[in-house]
Amino acid sequence: MGDTDFPDVNLGDLLGGFSVESRAPGGGAAAAVTATIAAGLIRMVAQRSSGSWDDAAGAVAQARALQARCAPLADADAQAWREAFDAMRGDVPDDVGLEEKLAGAVEPLLLIASTAADVAALAAMVAERGEGAFRGDAAAAAVLAEAAARSAAHLVAINLAVTKHDPRLAHARLLEEAAAEAARRALDAGP
């Protein structure tokens, strides 16, 4: 981690990681990275708002914590998806193995959805109370976080397609809705 606490990754390497012909990292990791970027935007806006908003420092601290949670989830998701993909290729003996691997791949996605929903909620607060000139960035963060939560929830639904009545799907949908509501609040906050 450098001075900005942003993971020490070259942007070209990051983008290249998503364009090589491998199955992972995929959508889940992209959602985690997106939520991390959104949390970084919140930090920036909150820091810029410290002169006019008493709780700005608290928002910065929360954004840092959420950034730290999001970033490792990209790797966790990529690893879980690789294992699930191996299972789909028949590298495990039977369908039970496949079901287990797909279900296992859901856990990082749920964490991504949950953390992204929190990022969206924090972004909404910052968009409503932060410095006016930077509220647009906070709203952008909320929309990015919503996209991350929605993407993760969608992938949860796909992974759980081979199981029935899994409560984790309903949970993912709740997180998606919460993120969407937060993004609406952020967009309504105005400049």
């Binding site: 008493d54 420092a57 928002a59 949670r69 929190d118 909620a121 937060a182």
Partner: protein
């Protein structure tokens, strides 16, 4: 949980004074208050094994019990026990490396780690002086990595208000660290 502190908070100086007076409850509180600090110095500062750290822990508190009367200022208990712990850890390392002088046993990373431990302990102490609701919400978010939704459900708060609650509590924590907070009764926010 890193920040879970539930005992009534009294100052170190008062606690030490009670210990000198032979109050067994005060001794229990003193050990509870500083046990993690001592253990962290042993494990993180001097990289003792858990077994050696346990032994060091026992030795430190035995020395505290025997030498408490030699402490010049009751308010300076923390640096005093930190110094005691460093000496005990160095003694243990010296026994392991026998021929090396004590001065050469000090680990390269110890000088970096010890100030961090001191800072962490300072924050821990300040947190313990906050209202219980603030302690809990900060502990859940920063130490346990709980989501706003989980915290809201556990504390019966609307999920949309958890972030602002955390911010307010962080502001109180900062004020506590800077000595700006009025004395707290330990309840309410």
């Amino acid at each position: 949980m890193l920040f879970a502190v539930t005992v009534e908070r009294i100052s170190d100086a008062v606690l030490v004074r009670r210990c000198r007076g032979g109050d067994p409850e005060a001794w229990a509180q003193l050990v509870e208050r500083f046990s993690r600090y001592v253990y962290a110095i042993a494990v993180q500062g001097y990289r003792l094994s858990s077994h050696d750290a346990e032994d060091a822990f026992q030795e430190v508190f035995t020395r505290v019990y025997d030498r408490l009367d030699s402490l010049r200022s009751d308010a300076a208990f923390r640096p005093w026990i930190a110094q005691l712990t460093r000496r005990v850890c160095l003694d243990r390392l010296r026994v392991e490396t026998r021929e090396e002088p004590v001065g050469q046993v000090e680990l390269p990373g110890a000088s970096d780690v010890l100030p961090e431990l001191d800072e962490a302990f300072t924050v821990h102490e300040a947190l313990a002086r906050l209202p219980k609701q603030c302690q809990e919400v900060l502990d859940r978010f920063f130490a346990c990595d709980e989501s706003y939704r989980t915290i809201g459900a556990a504390l019966q708060l609307p999920a949309g208000t958890v972030a602002s609650r955390i911010s307010r509590c962080l502001d109180k924590l900062r004020a506590e660290l800077e000595g700006r907070n009025p004395p707290s009764g330990g309840s309410g926010e």
